[in-house]
């Protein structure tokens, strides 16, 4: 099977790696691909919670590596979407529980059955990140339009290039269009100027994402919010489709329209 391993990473924590991994995995499965998401954040597992599969965990990635169970036993099938699977991280161990070779051999085995293997990388540039990067064919870099986050993304891209794991693709998360319009937030071009890699997604900052994450139902699975549509577009672009970027201007409500008119006058 022609299979692609994509590592989702960012350097900085809390920018949306897990949310991106979960939603892009769902969206790829909705398109019709067979997808497995792997949580490589050993000791701080999250992906299962975001995907709403926590209650179904029996075995995890470390159990597979330790030979406690077979890979198939640790692979949880998402009953809501055909073709979507999850391999959770262990919560009781730490990053030293697995090696780069372990990740490579797990992915080699998964490649027989899956079109896309998405690896949710831990934050940082240490062992955990190196484990997540080892089997990658390419990477998705998640950043927010903040200077510190872009700086870390730049560092990570440099490390990925040095490890020959490119090309990297960029997702800019939590964009607040109204702040960009006021010149108070970096815009897409500012970020691209520095990072200089292919852009595959611009995701608006959207409450719907927080709600769906807390419920354990990825936004791409149920609602039709702007963020959800933007994340689905990421999946299409990952598959190589050219799709125009969404206009992130939210429709104004009556009051906002009025105050805009007032300010203009």
């Amino acid at each position: 099977m022609n299979s692609t391993v994509i590592t989702v990473t960012s350097g900085k924590g809390g920018v949306g790696k897990t949310t991106t991994t979960a939603n892009v995995s769902v969206a790829l499965a909705l398109i019709g691909y067979k997808v497995v998401a792997i949580d490589s954040d050993i000791g701080l597992r999250n992906l299962d919670v975001v995907m709403g599969l926590e209650s179904r965990i029996v075995y995890d990635l470390v159990d597979v590596v330790d030979g406690v169970c077979r890979l198939k036993q640790a692979t949880i099938r998402d009953k809501r979407v055909k073709g979507l699977f999850l391999i959770p991280a262990a919560q009781t161990r730490d990053k030293t529980a697995i090696t780069q070779e372990n990740m490579i051999s797990v992915c080699e085995e998964l490649k027989k059955d899956f079109d896309y293997i998405l690896i949710d990388s831990p934050a940082g540039i240490e062992q955990g990140f190196k484990n997540a990067l080892a089997p990658a064919n390419r990477c998705i870099i998640v950043t927010t339009p903040e200077v510190s986050s872009v700086r870390d993304a730049d560092r990570i891209i440099g490390l990925i290039e040095a490890a020959d794991k490119g090309p990297s693709q960029l997702v800019i998360n939590r964009v607040r269009q109204e702040m960009v319009d006021r010149g108070e937030m970096l815009d897409v071009d500012d970020v691209l100027d520095i990072l200089g890699i292919e852009l595959v997604g611009v995701i608006p900052d959207d409450e719907a994402i927080i709600i769906s994450t807390n419920k354990g139902i990825p936004a791409t699975l149920e609602d039709d919010s702007l963020a959800s549509r933007a994340l689905k577009n990421v999946a299409y672009r990952v598959t190589g489709k050219q799709i125009p970027f969404l206009d992130l201007h939210q429709p104004l409500n009556l009051f906002q329209r009025f105050s805009k008119l007032w300010n203009r006058g």
Partner: protein, 223 residues
């Protein structure tokens, strides 16, 4: 620029083993040349241990593996790699080889007139990456925030200079720094240090040249 009849490597025997100097050129052609040279004096080189001196070349894991395998074929062992770039040093360490960082004045470069030799880096330097060289440095690409360039002589950046630049580490205040867009986090020339104004919102590309005048770093647009 690359000439086929040019010699890309030199081999030198020392009491400590063989030292192989590698100059610019494509890695594959260097390996071919090395293979050729070693084959010609197979008996002489047999059993030797080798130090590679690679200068500022970036070696990936596969590159080091390739040269290691090649040497093994000639019954020689790769013992250490000397490099002045971080990436190569990291790969070397991952390989479990002896890693000897080249000092700022690389032993491979003959005692240079700091002003006269120039190294060119044709890539963008990203955060955390850094290059240094005793002579002049030319970078075809950007220097991003968090990246650092240090030169004994002058620095020219054909791109955005957003990171840190230190020129004149050897030649001092007579050094200059040029960039298509000069907005460094920090600029050091000789003994002088300056910071860019933080509110630089101007996106126009205006090439500038920074130098020391009356004990101060000043930047002038290139016209």
């Amino acid at each position: 620029m690359e000439m086929t009849n040019e010699q890309h490597i030199t081999i030198k025997g020392t009491s400590d083993g063989l030292i192989i100097n590698i100059y610019s050129g494509r890695w594959s052609s260097i390996l071919a040349e090395l293979d050729d040279k070693l084959s010609k004096k197979a008996d002489f080189f047999k059993g030797g241990r080798v130090s590679l001196i690679v200068g500022n070349r970036i070696l990936k894991t596969d590159d080091i593996k390739a040269v290691g395998d090649l040497l093994n074929n000639h019954q020689m062992t790769l013992w250490s790699v000397q490099s002045s770039v971080k990436e190569t040093q990291t790969t070397t360490e991952e390989f479990g080889l002896e890693m000897v960082p080249s000092p700022l004045k690389a032993p491979t470069t003959p005692k240079l007139e700091p002003n006269h030799t120039t190294q060119t880096f044709k890539r963008t330097l990203r955060s955390g990456q850094h290059v240094e060289y005793a002579g002049n440095i030319v970078i075809i690409g950007d220097v991003n925030p968090g990246a650092k360039v240090m030169a004994g002589g002058n620095i020219i950046v054909w791109g955005h200079l957003r990171g840190t630049a230190h020129a004149g580490a050897i030649i001092g205040d007579s050094a200059y720094v040029c960039a298509l867009k000069l907005i460094p986090v920090q600029l050091i020339i000789g003994n002088h240090i300056s910071c860019s104004p933080t509110d630089n919102k101007d996106k126009r590309i205006i090439p500038e040249m920074a130098f020391v005048s009356n004990g101060q770093i000043i930047a002038e647009s290139w016209e």
